[in-house]
Symmetry: C2
Amino acid sequence: MKKTKLTLKDVAQQLGVSTATISNAFNRPDQLSKGKREEILAQCERIGYSGPNKAAQILRKGTSNIVALVLADSIAYMVSDPVASTFIKGVSTTLQQQGKHLLLYAGDSNSILDVVDFVDGFICYGAPRNYKLAQEIAAQSKPAITVDFDIDDVPSINIDNENAAYEVAKAAIDENDIVAILGLRLIDSPTTCRIYDSPLIDVNSSISHRRLDGYVRAAKEQGIEINNEWIWHLPESDRSYARQAAKEVLMSSPRPNTVLCMSDIIALELLHSALAMGIDVPNELKITGFDGIEEADRARPHLTTVCQSSVAKGEAAANALLSGESRKQILPFDLKLGETIRS
Amino acid sequence: MKKTKLTLKDVAQQLGVSTATISNAFNRPDQLSKGKREEILAQCERIGYSGPNKAAQILRKGTSNIVALVLADSIAYMVSDPVASTFIKGVSTTLQQQGKHLLLYAGDSNSILDVVDFVDGFICYGAPRNYKLAQEIAAQSKPAITVDFDIDDVPSINIDNENAAYEVAKAAIDENDIVAILGLRLIDSPTTCRIYDSPLIDVNSSISHRRLDGYVRAAKEQGIEINNEWIWHLPESDRSYARQAAKEVLMSSPRPNTVLCMSDIIALELLHSALAMGIDVPNELKITGFDGIEEADRARPHLTTVCQSSVAKGEAAANALLSGESRKQILPFDLKLGETIRS
DNA sequence: CTGTTAGCGCATTCAG
DNA sequence: CTGAATGCGCTAACAG
């Protein structure tokens, strides 16, 4: 009937040894004889003591084995995005191997402060929707690492978005094409729309603008200027936003014959819409994606896209955090040529 | 250059009040005048004290605002499963509303013990692959809730799997059909195979066996016995396992004309394989799924399946945990008739 | 190799 | 409404 959980002190008393000995038996095997240690552990097992209280250890040692993964947006959204969930996969695999725990943190929360005291570090995946979080992370002192964006000189994992976009666009664009772009988070709007003259957001920091730069550079090489009327903004890489944008693009007149999409989800939705309208891909419409998600492999025709390994990113981020890496890393990408640009 | 973080004590000294006052200012507004409180908070803000240390609070108060979500399998696997990630969505939305944090816990970990001391409670989604975790959860004293399975009298969230399976099977099966079943975790094998006479696992506790019961009942009503040779086991609801199973079923002779699948992922893979082989669905082959995932809506012909709302399950689980609900709940399901059983 | 001690940072008594 | 004292459960340093 002992309702109260055993404490290290209780156990020490019961076994007639000092608290330090019990503590050492669990945490520092080198501090006592093997025999004694095993005897103690056996006794503990017998009386139902499963080891030092973790909450107390967190306070005392200042570490918890918990890593916070700060997502760009709400957990609800992130977990259903194939790119984000693949990233989480990489992170969690690595953390689990190292005995660390994963705390998911929403990028639209108010503050990081209510976990900063007990977490061991932060992995920050994408610029958080509430950008204050990024500033708080920069300001605090625990190890942190950013992915797909940067804050000051916090170590980070990125790919070369400008070049990746350039490469895929270069593969797709031919002379005299009419080129449109389905972009992500280019302006501050909750709806799908052309960007026209709206003020651009995060022009220097966002990967979307790097990709835009790459697209524009490739187009320019073919003597093509992409007018802002041909650039769409989508608030998220989401099927329903993509469907609207696809419709607008395909109804345009003249209709673009090359559409560069900033995510595979967007590209696939465009592809489906086009096929449903009887448009010949790639002869009447060329499409490129970005990310290299699994679903793209199952599409017909195969999507031309930039493959970036989100698993590798996740692993790299977790490893960098755990190993105290302090440099910024650029990971490689792969161009994948499918039949959406050349039959 | 004060490198060390401010403590409540430091602040009390600097402001010339007692520690209790500072503590109360943050935690118990009713314990001091509004004016004083605001003044203190303002001062704290000014000197850069962001509130009581959370690690210390966890030890002192015994609560952390962290809820552990114990998944059935590794986080890596769960996060890419559409059903599980939708569930996570429901959980996280509810938790975030209530200011709780989400710790993802893998069901193939060794033990729950390294978080039990600081977590506020457990949501256990599906029987953990390492079943010892379930026992540990039953044995400890923090609030817990199970979903899609039960342990003793821990409160739980379930649907009526037997009836759901019965309903969908009844809709699909006609007299003289040859019925096959693509099942999940029916026997202890890491590979896709027919179950033959292998010993069944968790016959009483697993939802898969409840579904099997439902299928069998519906078949029996049409005078059909489903031989074990026509029942497949898949270790996970995974596309590649499903592809193998689909191939085996479709190559069988005689070929079944009705296949009941225990998940939509399996059913969709079977549908694709069948269509690729030129088999007419539903005239030569009827297919049913289970779950009602989004992707099933996009398939043509539309999949006949059982819709269960994973978001609702997640919300129900989180709410039940937070409100101290102690009963077991049965959530409703919906039969969705698509063209995979009747043209 | 073992036992004693002093906090980790805080929340809550209880007097005043 | 305030201030001093106690201990949440543990670990690290130190002395033996």
